[in-house]
Symmetry: C2
């Protein structure tokens, strides 16, 4: 007997698949055995802390293809295991033989005396245990907002800002490093090699991973900030940057953690020809004391109420370190979420997800056309990727102001907002997006007057802001479960190249959202969109209503082909709910 083609299984089972609490985990396998016997198969599963397996019978879903299926529900965070066993049911085989002989009118007297024993014998085991990493629902469904608190003031000054972010409907407020910033080789405004007297420096030039920058306040102030956020329904995410300013406390305490040149100086971070003089990389390879110290850092902030980490450039640190760190943290605090800033090659981005990161940045930022978006988002939201990678679609970051946003004005921001917020249940914006800030260093994707190197106070009520759009789309997400699922995205036909049309539905079909977005921020376009009426249980020429949740307008549609016109000066998208 062979148990083959198990699904889900990532790379022969060396990596876990991911699910969220309460999910049902469907497991398929081909159980192949010689002869004509009746088989039985069970799906065995347990939380990794449980000694005993639970058993669920599997069903022969496709006899011709020997395809079996079982499922279990994950009701506890952390690492679950599952495996499969199968055997020939000798009694059922005997009964089936007698049944078929009786049907053919044959004598079964001798067979009736030949009854086999009922024990399970010759059980064939899959021979390996597969894993599911069970995470909180917000690992899959959350709107992130990135802010530099220092542009607002100290933590104590941020409470109004938190209220505003909560009012816009965000779930997570993500802070770049809040630690003391090094003074040695500090960068000036616009990434100047030398800092001016009032320049605050880059928050990523960290001088102490376990302290709060004095200008932001005390640890108590931070705790109060986390509490205030919590009362508003916001979780606080911290940046985890595994690197040091030249005057970091570890440089003195652990000189062997840094790479020294033959002349005794410490090598700064570089990606030739770029050099980051304000940052020293750490020697992580096989450096277990440093791994333990970094685990201590993460646990320290978890102790202060942090439940999410956005990890800076994880693809430049050893993969084995992340696998270890995340498992160590998850075993203690399985509700903690890690977001990988994995702007790197696809296989490395995917490897980080496989090794345990809950979420990943993606190339969404640079996918603008209809073909690019439909191809890339299909890949992201379907197996195998959807089994282990959750793409968090940031519309901008402090490092990325795309040409599309630079050139497309306010409609471009509205387009990218709707796309990010409806293509994935995970998305984010970096503050200023809602003000349609679009001034870049010419020829680059860097912000002009980048907040990475200077304070950037803002007028949140500035004309042209799209805060109402943001609040609306976040409210729509919360009210429509179809938008809270990751792997239910389906691109639908729409004639022409400008209007992207897609749908998301709950498995039971009770909530169906259809989205049409005009990708051209400069001109109105019209098209015929094609609704998959048969799949939605509608007759080919049936009349139905779609309600635009952005405007509350209702449209009378009929059958598959329907007309859509979107003028970016007024409305860049329809987010339509099917009303039956």
């Amino acid at each position: 007997m062979l148990i083959l083609n198990v699904w889900p299984e990532i790379d022969g089972g060396i990596f876990p698949v991911k699910r969220e609490i309460g999910d049902r985990v469907g497991v398929w396998a081909d159980v192949v055995r010689e002869g004509h016997g009746v088989l039985q198969a069970v799906l065995k599963h347990r939380h990794e802390t449980e000694a005993r397996w639970s058993e669920v019978p599997m069903t022969l879903e496709n006899p011709g293809l020997d395809r079996w299926r079982g499922e279990f529900t994950v009701e506890r965070l952390g690492f679950h295991r599952y495996t499969i066993e199968a055997w020939e049911d000798a009694v059922a085989t005997w009964q089936e033989g007698i049944r078929r002989k009786r049907e053919a009118g044959l004598d079964v007297t001798a067979d009736l005396e030949d009854r086999p024993p009922v024990e399970r014998v010759d059980v064939t085991a899959l021979g390996r245990e597969l894993e599911v990493l069970v995470e909180p629902v917000r690992a899959r469904f959350a709107a992130w907002y990135e802010m530099f608190p220092r542009s607002v003031g100290a933590f104590r000054d941020c409470e109004a800002r938190l209220a505003d972010i909560a009012a816009m409907g965000f779930d997570v407020v993500y802070l770049p490093p809040i630690h003391p910033i090094g003074r040695v080789n500090r960068k000036g405004r616009g990434n100047a090699p030398v800092a001016g007297p009032g320049d605050p420096g880059s928050p990523w030039a960290i001088a102490d991973h376990m302290a709060v920058h004095p200008e932001l306040g005390t640890m108590d102030d931070f705790d109060r900030f986390v509490r205030a956020a919590g009362e508003l329904g916001l979780q606080v995410a911290l940046d985890l940057a595994v690197q040091c300013a030249p005057d970091h406390v570890w440089v003195q305490q652990h000189p062997d953690w840094f790479h020294r040149r033959p002349d005794g100086t410490i090598r700064c971070a570089e990606n030739p020809p770029k050099r980051y003089e304000d940052v020293y990389p750490l020697k992580l390879d096989g450096n277990r004391p440093l791994w333990e110290e970094l685990l201590r850092v993460v646990l320290f902030w978890i102790g202060h109420g942090v439940r999410a980490f956005r990890v800076d450039n994880p693809h430049t640190k050893p993969l084995a370190f992340w696998a270890w760190l995340i498992r160590e943290v998850k075993r203690r605090h399985p509700d903690v979420v890690f977001l990988a800033e994995a702007f790197t090659r696809p296989r490395l981005l995917e490897a980080l997800a496989k090794l345990g990161f809950s979420q990943s940045y993606t190339y969404f930022t640079w996918r603008n056309t209809k073909a690019e978006l439909s191809e890339y988002l299909s890949e992201l939201t379907r197996p195998p990727l959807s089994e282990f990678l959750r793409g968090n679609l940031f519309a901008n970051t402090p490092d990325i102001l795309t040409p599309y946003l630079q050139e497309g004005g306010r409609p471009a921001f509205r387009v990218r907002l709707v796309l990010a917020a409806t293509l994935s249940p995970l998305y984010g914006i970096y503050s200023g997006f809602e003000l349609c800030e679009n001034m870049a260093v010419p020829g680059t994707e860097e912000y002009l007057h980048s907040e990475k190197y200077e304070y950037r106070p803002r007028d949140w009520e500035a004309p042209g802001n799209i805060r109402a759009d943001v609040a609306r789309i976040n409210a729509i997400r919360r009210q429509n479960p179809a938008l809270q699922e990751y792997d239910n995205l389906r691109f639908l036909p729409a004639d022409g190249e400008h209007i992207l049309f897609y749908g998301k539905a709950t498995p039971d079909g009770s909530n169906v959202i259809l989205v049409a977005v005009n990708l051209d921020p400069h001109a109105a376009h019209e098209t015929t969109v094609h609704v998959p009426v048969a799949d939605l249980g509608l007759a080919e020429d049936e009349a139905y209503t779609v309600r635009d949740l952005l405007t509350d307008a209702a449209y009378a549609w009929r059958g598959s082909a329907n007309y859509v016109r979107l003028d970016p000066a007024h409305q860049v998208a329809h987010v339509l709910r099917l009303e039956r």
Copy 2:
């Protein structure tokens, strides 16, 4: 560092891929490592009997996708192993950093002093050894002919028959069991429950696996038959049927090898409601003495010059037994080929191929329409199946006379001949096919007067025979290397549903065969076929000649779209060679 997505690799490496001697084995893998270092990877390989690995450097074929490739040639039969190792080349990384800095006009003095050591350090190994089963070329390219020698006479009477089979261009002559046939419960003509006085019985009711039926002659006669075949360029394949007549020698010697009912009688073979009273199944599960005895049987016939075995109903015997038997035989005689009569469900058919069978019977017999043939043969001849399964396309067997052949007359036989012989480099016919024998037991696929239960002498010169077609197509196969490859089949567009159009080419494009077959044996059809001119290095409107190797007619074609008409009364197919 991670080494992922290795290809070829079947089910996580638990099964070997198959190649033929002299083949190059291309191996791909994603080598994923953090950071910006320069990597090196090697493909390591060795015959399983060699202690030392040979190393071949791998090439970064697709840097954006971290895809590496290497290849080695297999020049020895049997089981080869391969695996992969990768590491960061510290010196190359250092050189690349200096190069990029110099390009940017930066000072590299400090870097030049910082030269790393040249040893391979931190080598990451794949961690498992994958296998290639290397078989002789005839495991992939051979025309099989099945005959019941008893219908001709004794072995000594068969020499003229062998000459005729060789003259038709066959490579293998396959004989149903040649052993003594049991007398107890012997079947009569037409599978009658009781044999008449002159009825020879079914050859599969074997009374002694290590003897020749006296009516066929002595072991010496068999040896002479094998030699005579060899002198004609024919290999002899024997049937291996793991079952016994009730009066088999083992029934007395090893009563515990058989399944006894509570009343002490031995249970006969059955697949309810069918019963095979002339056959006892053997208890193979965990019965190592029987396994050893069956190995002895196989080695005995190998000792008598047999180099191929057609295994009867392998899917009703334990998979573990076949895996063991084939490996034991291959380790001693790696040139021996096993053909699985695996007429069972697809996953079980595939499992037998994975476990080591060189070739398999397929569902080709029952695929008649254009859609059926193109879908099924595409699946068979492409990865993953093509990596481990070689389909031997039998056009008929003693058990299978399809309705298509029963009803389509001589043209139907010619159609199926061309399809079998050109869709796969492995095909076969059972004797009588060339005489277009098409009389069936009504409502079944069984031959009327089945040779399984009676002698069937034939007039090989009977009118309407297609022996010349058979000889011609076999000669075409030998002269055209494109028809000797398994995984180069490509279906090409042809308008309408009747004419199937496909091509096969050698990798270097020096031999290109295009085949058009009218699948309708009853009527002439015409169509436009579409030649992939760009892929063949032809200009869109270039003129070229295609020569029909069946008739020697030459046609002047131009560009992609060309006209074909096939009248089954005259010619059912074109087998065209592209002439430049």
